[in-house]
């Protein structure tokens, strides 16, 4: 992968909680590069620091040390307003527990991040892309888990984010629904060339990534380019 395609660079990232004897190292010197259009998988068991890393990348948490460069800009130096703006314009979050706003309809949830000035029908387009056009007037509680996760993906896409950060996107879903979601993410990466970062603890899911890093105790224990990614369709876990 060419260096000029790198969209996000993480260097020497550390995150500690507590101090002295009680100090816990959530991240301990993580270095990684994420390229544009790449399907990047962060693999690791619970407590390995993968979600902490994702939160750092997403600007939701500040590192204790190290740097995160988004298109060459150090986000650790961002002020709160800039960091919020970074989350709005550059990052699209897909949470494990969906985190949709219960009082809003599906379409309104998607519209929250949509740049309607640029394209007033963006929310409708995204919902159509996710196959949820008919559900746009429903409330999240009236949808299944898979549908809710698809709304979450649509919401993440509506803001035209550069990177889609998916924290255990299939964690709250059954196998079939999870597979559907993975297919959607794969499609976004392959067809629409979106940079997708998936955090998972399932080794089989990691097989679909272009690049996979394996984390343990806040460190990257292995990292490899996947020359022949397995299509989501064929993944079984």
């Amino acid at each position: 992968m060419e260096n000029n395609n790198v969209i996000l660079q993480v260097r020497g990232l550390r995150k500690t909680y507590g101090s002295g004897e009680n100090e816990v190292r959530a991240l301990d010197g993580v270095d990684l590069d994420i390229c544009e259009g790449q399907l990047f998988v962060i693999l690791g068991s619970s407590g390995s620091g993968k979600s902490t890393l994702l939160n750092m990348i997403g600007g939701m948490d500040a590192p204790s040390s190290g740097s995160i460069l988004f298109r060459g800009k150090e986000i650790g130096r961002f002020k709160d307003r800039e960091l919020t703006d970074y989350r709005k314009r550059c990052i699209g979050f897909v949470f494990q527990s969906f985190n949709l706003i219960g009082e809003l309809t599906v379409k309104e949830n998607v519209e929250l991040t949509a740049n309607t000035r640029k394209d007033p029908h963006i929310a409708d387009s995204m919902l159509e892309l996710m196959g949820l056009s008919e559900k746009k007037k429903k409330y999240p509680s009236q949808l299944s888990g898979g549908q809710q996760q698809r709304v979450a993906i649509a919401r993440a896409l509506a803001g035209d984010a550069d990177i889609l950060l998916c924290d255990e996107p299939t964690g709250a879903l059954d196998f079939e629904t999870g597979k559907q979601i993975l297919k959607q993410l794969e499609r976004l990466s392959r067809e629409y060339h979106k940079t997708v970062v998936i955090v998972t603890h399932t080794r089989e899911i990691a097989q679909m990534g272009d690049r996979v890093i394996n984390m343990k105790d806040g460190r990257i224990v292995s990292s490899y380019e996947n020359e022949d990614p397995v299509p989501a369709e064929r993944i079984d876990w």
């Binding site: 979600s51 902490t52 939160n55 997403g58 939701m60 948490d61 709160d80 307003r81 919020t84 703006d85 970074y86 989350r87 709005k88 314009r89 990052i91 979050f93 949470f95 494990q96 527990s97 985190n99 706003i101 219960g102 009082e103 809003l104 309809t105 379409k107 309104e108 519209e111 929250l112 991040t113 949509a114 309607t116 007037k137 429903k138 409330y139 999240p140 509680s141 009236q142 919401r155 803001g159 924290d167």
Partner: protein
């Protein structure tokens, strides 16, 4: 929730107890420090009496003072209005001195420190004490503070010492006047004179009464005489009247006699005529009776005949009825027969038609069969030749020829075969038709006995045919098979012929054909033999069919002829039935005619019988009439006889009557003359008696007038003497007062009674105990509202806190929806979950209650300390109202538990799986999408509105909590402002002058000019005071009426509606309560001191019941009691003004400045302080509720807000959203809370109303503004708190958390 509960409970207990303690302490304080247990207004004040009073059992201490204000004139000439109290040397020892003078003086006085300091008077200063026109030079012996009057309170770092003000303590000797021997002597002299006067007055009154008695006696005698004369006169008049009536009666009698005489003559004539009539009547009666007997016998005969006729007719009618029934039965039978014939005819027609159609079909079949036979013959011939050809010819040409012929033959044969099949079909159909015909024939056979034989023949015919459908079907199938074979042969031959041009092919074909044909023919004809038997069978079959068809035809013809015969028979029978029916109809008609004729006959007979009966009735009535006529004739005759007997008696009576009338006329004339004479004599006597009595009466009146004159002059002298005596005594309206402080436990009434006995009741003007005093009443009026406040204000706070507590608890439990769902999923029962939450709530409530009680006690102490220092009380009785405390604890606990039980019960009813998932907003069930979804608003605005409106629970919770705060703050502030408004608008506006100068005589007109010229006052007006009795409709009140200048600007008088009223010459402005007491309204007339005047207006008053007239109306009311001049003055000019007035001392009675009204203002201070405390607490509670509400809301939305932040929403956006939300809550809260606050304030003010003082609600814009701004400030502060909290939230953790 803990905070709200404990605040509610604590404030309820604390504020209630605080106010109640204040009320009781103030009451006790006023009573203990200022007012004695009993007071006695008396004319005497002596050291001896005071000592005796002090030694009375039950008396702790006795003191004396001068009621009313005395004037103290300072060394600089300034006038001070003071209250005088006596002091003794013993008391002097216990007094706390600030300053003391060693100078000696006859009258050393003590001044209170604050007063002395404020007026720059020091110990050793000389002052003058004035009581009315007497004065004493006194020395200020000391400036003191009475220990019981001292109150210390902290003001910043300084300890301030307060004392009571307005008292000057003078030696008793200064006020002691009654032991003056000259006064005693004069008083004794006056008493003697008074006694003598009273005695003389009594004698005179007795003498007058005696004369009056004599006169009354004479008057009585005269009256008796007069009555006697009157009765006699009446008697005479009645007698005269009687005589006159008698005279009239005599005249009437005479006329009557003449009339009777004439009547007698007429009667005689009438009697003769009657005699004649009687005779002719008797004759008529006799002939009538004979006629009647004859008619009766005729009627008997007619009746017997008619009866016989009737019986005959009835028998005929019965026969006819029988015949009618027979005829009907026959008719029914005939109709049924006719119907049967018609049915049979129809059936015959149907059979005929069927037979005809069968015949046609048979004919057609026969023809077909014949055709078939010819075809079969042809087929046999062709078949035979084919067979011969195939079998015998070996030559191709022959075969070829044969083939051509065969094709032709087959071509002809195929249609023939098809036709044969069709014919066979028809045959089968014919058989079926024959079956049908059989069925029909059977049916016809059932109907017609005559056609039975024919049916039999038909059946035989069909049986003879022997055709079964199986046979026919088999034949058809064979023919079809034959046809198909022929077609295939043909096609082969045709195929062969097409290739016949090639010899080789032809040869091959020939060979093949030969073999094929052989094979086929072998197959067809079996064993290489021509099927002669088949053709024979077919011929036989067709021939038999033909025969059968011909037989069938003959039989059908026969059947048809039989049907025609049957029809003829049926037509004949039909005709017979028709004839029978016609005969029956004729018979019926005849029967009907006969019946009608019989009925007519019967009715004629009935008529005849009824005529006979009526004839009998007539005969009876004629008989009765005859009998009546006979009796009449008999009585007429008796009467006639009686008249004839009476006539001589009547003639005799008439003659006697004439004689007696003549005698009566002469008697009446003499009686009348006697009566007239007696009456004129009686009248003369009566006139003489009356003249004499009148003379005596005027003499007595003259003497009494003379005595009255003497009494009057004596009373005047005595009054003058009394006035002189009073003047000499020196106090006029002022009098001395003994004040008694009773020992603890002693009955003040009993002590007072003993004291009154000691002083002498005749020397006591007025006395009362504290409990009965006006002072007590006035204190109660001021202090009682505090008790009302002690209930209603904390109750308001408590209610608001309870509402908030309930809502918070409910809201918090509903927030635990997921946890409750988990517990339910883990197998906890609903009751165990409710129990769990109730236990938690019980612990929280217990903590809240304990905390609340501590706060409550703290609040009580705080309020107490505040009140104590504010009112300069040297003690404060902390009282705890245990019942309220317990109730507030119980209610707090119950409300918390109720909220827990209800909410937990509700949430635990939700299915665990549903409870553990995130609930859908309520609106989602009602409508998907909705208006908001369709609006083109920026997403975030849409989000703000939707989250606000769709979460209705949150909206309702927040609005109720915030509106409670608004109610609280509005009510507290409105209460505060209403109190201030009363003071400022109603009180201050009324008294707009600063100084009032009193005179005991009309001031010199030049006084006001001099006053104005001094430049010390700005405006002046004159006022006159009257004490008058106002009377209206029997009710009367002695009141003070002020005559003020028309259009006075210095005295503001306001009506109930707040409009200003001005005194005018048109009448009296009568204060509202007095008007109510007298029951008068505007325009009614009242009497003011005997002067009638209308009520020109009814002003609203608060403190003093003053009534006003215009100065122009003064003349009618006479001399005023007091004159005064009111003026406005700058504060700086007050002392120079007093100096000026001191030079006018000949006129000045007393002068007051506005400072004196401070006392009245003080009465509002208690409420001012209380309402201020209420306001402070309202502000605190309001802020707690608002902040708590906002924070609870925030906590509920934490996850959503964090998600928004994660999605890249700036703090400003979040802040905007929260502000929008708070703004909407605020709007609704104000919309609900302000009217609620108005209602609550009005309720509390209404409850505070006491006699003579109302607290109207003041609708001040400042209250609205203050409330709106304060609540807005709370909202903004809460918002900032919220934003700080949001910034501290851990985004990553919150977002990761599941619900």
């Amino acid at each position: 929730m803990l905070l709200v509960s404990c605040l509610g409970c604590g404030l309820m207990a604390g504020m209630a107890d605080g106010f109640l303690s204040l009320k009781n302490t103030l009451g006790d304080y006023i009573r203990d420090m200022k007012y004695p247990d009993a007071v006695i207004d008396t004319e005497v004040t002596t050291v001896d009496v005071l000592e005796e009073l002090n030694s009375l059992p039950g008396v702790e201490a006795a003191d004396a003072r001068l009621t009313g204000n005395l004037i103290m004139v300072g060394s600089d000439g300034v006038y001070y209005s003071m209250q005088a109290m006596t002091y003794s040397e013993e008391e002097f020892q216990g007094v706390y001195y600030w300053e003391k003078s060693d100078r000696e003086a006859e009258y050393p006085i003590l001044l209170e420190r604050r007063f002395a300091m404020q007026n720059n008077i020091s110990a050793g200063d000389s002052v003058e004490i004035r009581v009315e026109d007497r004065s004493w030079d006194c020395l200020v012996r000391a400036v003191i503070s009475r220990p019981e009057m001292i109150a210390h309170h902290k003001l910043g770092d300084i300890t301030v010492v307060s004392t009571d003000i307005g008292y000057v303590y003078v030696p008793l000797e200064l006020l002691e006047k009654v032991n003056d021997p000259e006064f005693e002597a004069a008083s004794a002299e006056w008493d003697r004179f008074n006694e003598e006067y009273l005695r003389k007055k009594q004698d005179a009154e007795k003498e007058y009464e005696k004369v009056q008695g004599e006169l009354t006696e004479a008057e009585n005698t005269l009256s008796e005489k007069k009555d006697e004369f009157d009765s006699k006169l009446k008697e005479a008049e009645s007698k005269k009247e009687e005589l006159l009536q008698n005279r009239e009666a005599v005249s009437r009698k005479t006329a009557e006699l003449e009339l009777k005489e004439q009547e007698l003559l007429d009667k005689k004539k009438e009697l003769e005529q009657s005699e004649e009539k009687l005779r002719s009547g008797e004759e008529e009666l006799s002939s009538g009776r004979d006629e009647l007997v004859r008619k009766k016998s005729e009627l008997d005969k007619t009746a017997a005949e008619l009866e016989k006729t009737r019986k005959d007719l009835e028998a005929q009618l019965a026969d006819l009825q029988k015949q009618k029934e027979d005829l009907a039965r026959k008719k029914q039978e005939a109709l049924e027969g006719q119907k049967e014939i018609e049915q049979k005819l129809a059936e015959l027609e149907e059979q005929e038609a069927q037979l005809i159609s069968g015949k046609e079909e048979l004919l057609r079949d026969l023809e077909l069969l014949k055709l078939l036979r010819s075809l079969l013959e042809a087929l046999e011939e062709y078949g035979r030749s084919l067979y011969d050809t195939v079998m015998l010819s070996e030559e191709a040409e022959a075969v070829y020829q044969w083939a051509l012929n065969a094709v032709d033959a087959i071509d002809r044969l195929i249609p023939e075969s098809e036709r044969l099949a069709a014919v066979l079909h028809q045959i089968r159909d014919g058989a079926q038709a024959a079956d049908l015909g059989l069925t029909l024939a059977e049916a016809a056979a059932l109907g017609i006995a005559e056609t039975a034989a024919q049916d039999k023949q038909i059946i035989d015919l069909l049986e003879a045919l022997g055709i079964t459908s199986d046979d026919i079907d088999g034949t058809i199938a064979a023919l079809h098979s034959f046809t198909e074979t022929m077609q295939s042969i043909r096609s082969m031959i045709v195929g062969a012929l097409t290739v016949a041009s090639d010899p080789e092919v032809l040869e091959a074909l020939r060979q093949s054909l030969i073999s094929e044909c052989k094979e086929m023919l072998r197959h067809l004809f079996k064993d290489d033999h021509f099927p002669y038997s088949l053709f024979d069978w077919l011929f036989g079959l067709i021939d038999s069919y033909i025969r059968q068809a011909e037989d069938g035809l003959a039989q059908i013809e026969d059947g048809l002829s039989q049907i025609t015969e049957g029809r003829k028979l049926l037509y004949e029978k039909q005709r017979e039935v028709s004839d029978g029916l016609a005969q029956i109809a004729e018979g019926e008609q005849q029967i009907r005619d006969g019946e009608a004729a019989l009925k007519a006959g019967l009715s004629q007979v009935e008529d005849g019988l009824s005529q006979v009966k009526s004839g009998y009735g007539e005969i009876d009535s004629y008989e009765k009439k005859l009998r009546d006529e006979e009796s009449k004739l008999r009585s007429g005759r008796e009467e006639l006889d009686e008249y004839n007997r009476q006539i001589p008696d009547a003639e005799k009576a008439i003659t006697e009557g004439r004689d007696s009338i003549r005698q009566a006329e002469s008697d009446i004339a003499s009686g009348l003359k006697e009566i007239d004479d007696a009456v004129s004599e009686g009248e003369q006597q009566l006139r003489r008696g009356e003249d004499e009595l009148e003379r005596n009466r005027s003499e007595a009146e003259e003497k009494w007038q003379e005595a009255q004159q003497k009494f009057k002059s004596a009373e005047d002298e005595l009054s003058k003497a009394k006035t002189k005596l009073d003047e000499w005594k020196g106090y006029g309206d002022h009098c001395n007062q003994f004040m008694l402080r009773t020992e603890p436990g002693a009955d003040p009434e009993a002590v007072l009674a003993r004291a009154e006995e000691l002083i002498g009741r005749d020397r006591i003007k007025k006395s009362c105990t504290y409990e009965n005093s006006e002072v007590k009443h006035s204190i109660d009026v001021n202090v009682d509202p505090l008790e009302v406040m002690s209930l209603y204000v904390p109750l308001l706070f408590f209610a608001v806190a309870l509402i908030a507590d309930f809502l918070f608890m409910s809201f918090l439990i509903r927030q635990c929806r997921r946890e409750i769902g988990i517990l339910r999923a883990l197998g906890y029962t609903r009751s165990s979950i409710v129990g769990l939450f109730c236990s938690v709530n019980a612990l929280v409530s217990a903590g809240a209650i304990i905390l609340g009680l501590l706060i409550g006690f703290g609040v009580t102490r705080f309020i107490g300390e505040f009140f104590r220092s504010f009112f300069c009380l040297h003690y404060f009785n902390y009282q705890i109202h245990w019942s309220r405390l317990l109730i507030s604890i119980a209610v707090t606990f119950i409300v918390g538990q109720a909220a827990t039980i209800l909410s937990t019960g509700y949430v635990s009813r939700i299915h665990p799986s549903e409870a553990m998932s995130r609930p859908a907003p309520v609106s989602s069930h009602a409508r998907e999408g909705g208006l908001l979804s369709r609006l083109h608003l920026p997403p975030f605005i849409k989000y703000c509105i939707s989250t606000l409106l769709r979460n209705k629970k949150r909206l309702v919770f927040s609005v109720i909590c915030l509106s409670s705060s608004v109610v609280l703050i509005f009510a507290a502030f409105s209460f505060y402002v209403s109190k201030n408004k009363i003071l400022s608008e109603q009180f201050d506006d009324r008294i707009q002058y600063d100084c009032e100068i009193f005179f005991n005589a009309e001031p010199d007109p030049s006084f006001r000019e001099r006053l104005a010229a001094s430049g010390l006052v700005k405006e002046t007006e004159a006022v006159c005071y009257y004490t008058k009795e106002i009377e209206a409709g029997g009710a009367r009140e002695e009141l003070t009426v002020k005559a003020i200048e028309a259009g006075s600007e210095l005295i503001g008088i306001y009506g109930s509606d707040g409009s200003r009223l001005y005194a005018s010459s048109e009448g009296l402005l009568l204060e509202k309560h007095t008007a109510e007491l007298l029951g008068v309204s505007e325009g009614d007339k009242v009497s003011v001191g005997g002067v009638e005047m209308p009520v020109a207006g009814i002003p609203e008053e608060y403190e003093n019941r003053s009534h006003y007239i215009a100065a122009a109306s003064r003349e009618a009311l006479g001399t005023p009691v007091i004159w005064s001049v009111i003026c406005t003055v700058d504060k700086a000019d007050e002392i120079p003004l007093m100096e000026f007035l001191s030079r006018e001392k000949d006129y000045v009675y007393a002068a007051f400045t506005s400072r004196l009204y401070d006392g009245i203002v003080d009465s509002f201070r208690a409420f001012g302080v209380c309402s201020l405390i209420v306001l402070i607490f309202a502000v605190v509670i309001g802020s707690v509720i608002v902040i708590n509400t906002v924070c609870t809301n925030l906590q509920e939305q934490k996850k959503d807000l964090c998600v928004l932040r994660a999605l890249g929403f700036q703090y400003s956006g979040i802040s905007f959203r929260l502000l929008t939300q708070a703004g909407v809550y605020y709007f609704f809260a104000c919309l609900i809370g302000i009217p609620g606050g108005i209602g609550v304030t009005k309720l509390i003010l209404q409850k505070l109303e006491v006699e003579g003082r109302s607290y109207p609600f003041v609708n001040a814009p400042s209250v609205y503004l203050f409330t709106l701004l304060l609540v807005m400030a709370y909202v903004i502060v809460s918002h900032f708190i919220s934003m700080r909290m949001i910034k501290k939230w851990d985004l990553a953790e919150t977002v990761k958390d599941k619900e």
